[in-house]
Symmetry: C2
Subunit: 124 residues, 2 copies
């Protein structure tokens, strides 16, 4: 299990995801201040190229540099403000989801083993 590589891959993935969130925020801001540009950016971002945040930013710089720089500032802000909470939140979310899956499974198996002779819950 190459944890170092997983950490590197996850960082790249997270960086692209925060770029996507930054784009959403900028589109939302533009929809109030400059609706035509919001629509343009929304169309530009809908082609799937946002899968790789760096390719996306690079291509946006070519056509609208101020907008690209604005998204870069927002994603850096998101990284500063949001990532510190992620370890605790993710560990808790996975622990909780794992527990729910186990409980759900146990309930199902218990139900299965009890039936058909005691399918009526009142008879248990």
């Amino acid at each position: 299990m190459d944890l170092k590589q997983v950490a590197k891959d996850t960082t790249k993935f997270l960086s692209s995801y925060l770029t996507y969130q930054a784009v959403r925020i900028v589109i939302s801001q533009l929809s109030e201040t400059n609706p035509p540009l919001a629509i343009w950016l929304s169309n530009f971002s809908a082609t799937g190229k946002i899968q790789d945040g760096e390719v996306y930013i690079q291509e946006l710089i070519e056509v609208d540099q101020p907008l690209a720089f604005r998204i870069m500032i927002v994603r850096a802000h998101l990284a500063d403000e949001v990532t510190e909470f992620l370890p605790e939140m993710t560990i808790a979310a996975i622990a909780q989801a794992n527990m729910q899956h186990r409980v759900h499974y146990l309930e199902r198996v218990t139900q299965f083993n009890l039936s058909p002779e005691s399918s009526d819950p009142d008879s248990i």
Copy 2:
């Protein structure tokens, strides 16, 4: 900018991504100990349903509960071991990428402004 919502969405996303990484690790382990099962899990995981980690685990429990529980243990382990490094790594990665985009843009603009009268670097 609803940072709380961004943090929640990112946590869900990260949790699904670590599930995907856990599946990759388990497939890699199985390819040495139980190749047919590795192929089966690889096919099962290739249908796009892994986009949502919880739906994926739920469906896998229905058909192979021990395998699903194994992936759940691995993803909890990844969350414990990997997430603590993510804030620092992601902030650094975005800061570095942003700087590279700015430098690249400035180089391009400078190049553009200098040419055509001084396209030969030696003449600068």
